[in-house]
Symmetry: C2
DNA sequence: GAGTAAGTTGACCGACTGGTCAACTACCTT
DNA sequence: AAGGTAGTTGACCAGTCGGTCAACTTACTC
């Protein structure tokens, strides 16, 4: 009879704590000590589970993505009309960031972008984790844009390229909101999205 | 007769060195020692000119903006047709970043965004410097978009809002290029810009 | 040359950093 | 209770970090 291993929740506490700190502050400004303190861990436990700070950050981003994927699957369900998927997503993110602002005083934008920009030239493990996650996230946009094009809701010679452009636009807007600490910038994004997508005017109201 | 003060170029060497390092790496990963080494300075000189690392970073970003302003004034000269101003700018940035990639192996994107994202929740001096610079840069976009609308080249209920959206989209694309280390993302931006702007089709070729 | 102020230096500081590791504890099965 | 392993701890490490400061040097004017 094989042994039943102990179940510790420490790994999750560490990734959650790391995620909160690197999103709120920055990767560089987040120390292993601070992560441990927040997680109620000692440093030795940290290094039992993760080889390095970098490995933890990558794991934290991926664990966070795992949680967000569930929400995105729901928001982008193919049972929802394509343009409405995007609208729901923008509203969802806006509400989440506004809520977080109440708690911590700042608009945090997207961690993939802030942490990605910060470490991309120096830490390939974290950069690659972020790249993988971005690839997944872009796919939601791509499927929505493809469906919208197939349904004749938008003009798109190349739906995939358009989806990627829209995603980049959204990331830029999220970054601006973080830098300026102004959530209102996000409220206006739906209009921008319609322009990027080339939403057909007669049908626009059908979103 | 008042004394003629000595002229030292140290301040400029420090801001230049700091700019290079925080753009290439990150603010947090750039140490005062590294900046001094790069500038050929000793730490005491650093602190003779700047009260803190933060003050130097703000000064470095502003000095860099001073240099870039000259280039942007030329590229966005009102003697150039508005949509062509934007095209020239996108080409200029693309070429600059591609050149820098050859030297340092990375696409560096825009320092305002990478450093801004990194420090905005923690360092108000640097964040405010970045905000000021962004405000200036957006004005080039605003004037181009206003002129384009006035000339009937684009559709714009609110040219200012459209210019801001275009700027944010460009920043997002620059950030993606940095994270993915792929300059080709920038080449495609002109198409996105035309869509965001609602460039009128019959006139698009006149850009 | 003398005087002065701008600029530079080297040595220093306390705190912090990411990481190491032997010893210990807790949990599970037998 | 014993055994074994997963997990935890506390103490430690060398190096780095942003910053300080007295002493010195240099450049300029008179």
């Amino acid at each position: 009879m094989s042994r039943m291993p102990r179940v510790s929740d420490m790994k999750g506490r560490l990734t959650d704590s790391a995620m909160e700190l690197i999103w709120h502050n920055s990767y560089g400004a987040t120390s292993v000590d601070a992560i441990c303190e927040r997680a109620g861990a000692k440093k030795g436990s940290f290094y039992y589970f993760f080889k390095s700070k970098s490995e933890l950050a990558a794991a934290a981003l991926e664990a966070d993505w795992g949680k967000k994927k569930v929400q995105m699957d729901e928001i982008f369900s193919p049972t929802v009309s394509p343009l409405k998927r995007l609208d729901r997503y923008f509203d969802f993110v806006h509400d989440r960031l506004a809520e977080m602002q109440k708690k911590c005083g700042s608009i945090l934008g997207c961690p993939l972008l802030s942490v990605g920009s910060e470490v991309s030239t120096q830490d390939q493990m974290v950069r690659e984790a972020i790249d993988r996650i971005i690839d997944h996230k872009v796919n939601y946009f791509i499927s929505a844009v493809r469906d919208a094009a197939a349904q004749g809701l938008i003009e798109a010679a190349d739906p995939d390229a358009k989806a990627r452009a829209l995603f980049a636009c959204y990331q830029g807007t999220l970054a601006q909101a973080r830098i300026q600490n102004d959530v209102e910038l996000l409220r206006e994004f739906k209009t921008v999205a319609q322009e990027v997508l080339g939403v057909k005017r007669a049908r626009a109201r059908a979103v």
